[in-house]
């Protein structure tokens, strides 16, 4: 997992995007190929169809609220989402994203500053965010070093495997 700055096309969602819309309970134990096709479909049916690898999800407050289901960040990762940038994250979603190696960035003002289809540039280490269409720049809160280390390793299971080898 690189800590390099990244650029991507933006998909916008609102506040309180729940794990029930990221990973509906109805498909809870289905394989990821099935699950990811329903990710966010109840908020935007085109998302799981049209999202491309490298795209970035931008959202409001409390992103990923609800269940502990790791399938929520996993579905986004499987669809190729490069990063989720939100005003704030629900606690378990944040842990799970880090645990599976999906980059996330909390950034005040991001929901206002972006519209769907915009191009975003962001630096996970400094937290710097820029809208390449409007030129607007924002200062996000980079993850603490302890969490970035797990992300950089590729997730907590990679840390576990490395620990066993070491």
């Amino acid at each position: 997992m690189s800590e390099a700055p990244l650029r991507g096309r933006v998909w916008c969602f609102g506040d309180d995007v729940s794990t029930d819309v990221l990973s509906p309970g109805e498909y809870a134990i289905d394989p990821v190929e099935v699950r990811k096709a329903h990710c966010l479909e109840s908020l935007d049916p085109s998302f799981p169809i049209d999202v491309r690898p490298g795209d970035v999800v931008v959202a409001g407050r409390n992103f990923g609220c609800g269940s502990s289901r790791e399938t929520a960040p996993e579905n986004l990762q499987a669809l190729g989402v490069a990063c989720v940038v939100a005003e704030s994250f629900a606690r378990i979603f944040l842990r799970n994203a880090v645990a599976i190696g999906l980059p996330v960035l909390a950034c005040g003002g991001v929901a206002e500053a972006f519209a769907g289809g915009d191009e975003i540039e962001l630096d996970p280490v400094s937290g710097r965010v820029r809208n390449l269409r409007t030129g607007a720049g924002l200062a996000g809160e980079p993850l603490p070093a302890e969490m970035r280390e797990i992300l950089a390793a590729g997730g907590i299971l990679a840390v576990l495997r490395a620990g066993r080898r070491g």
């Binding site: 309180d16 729940s18 029930d20 819309v21 509906p24 309970g25 109805e26 809870a28 134990i29 289905d30 109840s42 908020l43 407050r61 409390n62 609220c65 609800g66 269940s67 502990s68 289901r69 790791e70 704030s88 994250f89 629900a90 606690r91 378990i92 842990r95 799970n96 645990a99 599976i100 603490p144 302890e146 997730g155 907590i156 299971l157 840390v159 576990l160 495997r161 620990g163 066993r164």
Partner: protein
């Protein structure tokens, strides 16, 4: 120190910790259930792990998809049973025992001051007995099963000081809904909450479990009541000897809020957010298709009794399906003996097996597009119980029972007053 700080200090072998610090803590109890256990064990096998850190400190429960509604669920259950055997897990509750968050306290797995992690967001429930319970994902639980440890950021704590006494039929479900409505779904994000004061001391353990269950619905990492005489008496009945446990008198809180319980009315959370809360009067008369009494929030004997008290001698409205799912076999048996289940069945309730029931939308009681349900559970997000075009309202068992009779959302203080 706060309760969260005391527990994380002890579990990480330190004299003291402060909010914001990162610690690596030893976990006292690890929980997983049938939605995630196969994935957890799969991660262990893939990583070449052959034993768990302590088979005595792992609990596995089949509760979400019981009895198996699909061939895939049956296959997942079989895989989980095989892994339970292979890893020598001592505490395995197969389908029919009940919901994990009911079984943990009921079967004596929860101790005051313990650090409990589970692959379920409602693991905060166990703070009702002064344990630090919190939800994590499957990869992190696999890490815990392998190592017995996990990293934590010590949370700041918000304290709710409660005074006065509830006026029945107002319940502690109404309290936590009111707090969600007043402070918002992310009010306690990354934070712990403590419920204290003379009002909190008056809550029975069943009510404390309801409140701490929904602490996560205001974003909390942990939700706590102190382990007082009420908690210790509950624990003693379940063979757990424990000492009182609570915050230090000089604990530092990020915020203090007060609430007078005597001023509270029955509350309802409106679609599609747990913090969109109004007094019942604001939505009374809203037609419903389904009513649900159960879940880890409100599926205990006290909840079934409260519903039965409303429904005795009455009939569920012809246009409403009333579903009742006891939280555990022990609850089912006790409600059979007490006559509560008889009263519910006589009124026209459809009684489901002990387990999560329709709460999480896996099976058994899903909603069609355009349908409305009022339930005692903990979430009403879009698509939670079937169709994304269905609507879910949340309330106490008394309010749900009164609504089932009226055919529309009804005030339990005047259950016949439908439109």
């Amino acid at each position: 120190m706060t309760m969260a700080e005391k527990i994380l200090a002890r579990a990480s072998g330190r004299d003291g910790v402060k909010a914001g610090e990162f610690v690596v803590a030893e976990v006292d109890l690890a929980l997983t259930h049938d939605i995630f256990a196969a994935a957890v064990f799969g991660h262990l096998v893939a990583a070449g792990i052959e034993r768990v850190f302590d088979p005595e400190r792992v609990v596995v429960v089949l509760d979400h998809l019981v009895p198996a509604p699909t061939e895939a669920a049956a296959a997942a259950h079989r895989t989980i049973r095989e892994h339970v055997e292979r890893f020598g897990i001592r505490h395995f509750y197969d389908a029919g025992h009940g919901i994990c968050h009911q079984l943990l306290p009921e079967q004596g797995h929860v101790r005051p001051g313990a650090l409990i992690v589970g692959t379920d967001s409602h693991t905060t429930t166990h703070g009702a007995l002064a344990a630090a319970g919190t939800g994590i994902g499957t990869s992190e639980l696999a890490y815990v099963l392998a190592t017995g440890k996990l990293w934590f950021r010590v949370p700041a704590t918000i304290r709710f000081d409660l005074s006065g006494a509830l006026r029945p039929p107002v319940t502690w479900k109404d309290v936590i809904l009111a707090l969600a409505g007043r402070f918002g779904a992310d009010a306690a994000q990354y934070r712990a909450v403590e419920f204290g004061g003379p009002g909190a001391a008056g809550a029975d353990v069943s009510s404390r479990l309801t409140v701490c269950n929904m602490a996560v619905e205001i974003g909390a990492k942990f939700g706590f009541f102190a382990a007082d005489e009420t908690a210790l008496a509950y624990l003693a009945e379940r063979g757990v000897e424990a000492e009182p446990f609570g915050p230090d008198p000089d604990a530092a809180y990020e915020a203090l809020h007060e609430l007078d319980l005597s001023l509270l009315e029955p509350q309802v959370a409106l679609p599609h957010a747990v913090d969109r809360v109004e007094p019942v009067g604001a939505v009374a008369g809203t037609r419903i298709d389904q009513a649900f009494i159960g879940s880890c929030t409100n599926g205990r004997l006290e909840d079934l009794e409260a519903a039965a008290a409303v429904l005795r001698g009455r009939r569920v409205h012809a246009g409403v399906r009333l579903l009742v799912a006891p939280a555990s076999r022990e609850v089912f048996q006790a409600a059979t003996r007490s006559g509560a289940l008889q009263a519910l069945a006589d009124a026209g309730a459809l009684v489901l097996p002990p387990g999560c029931g329709p709460c999480f939308g896996g099976h058994g009681g899903l909603l069609a597009p355009g349908e409305r349900c009022i339930g005692t559970h903990n979430r009403n997000f879009v698509g939670r119980m079937g169709s994304a075009r269905a609507e879910i309202f949340l309330a106490s068992p008394a309010t749900v029972a009164a609504s089932a009779v009226a055919g529309c959302i009804a005030d339990p203080r005047a259950p016949e007053a439908g439109p």
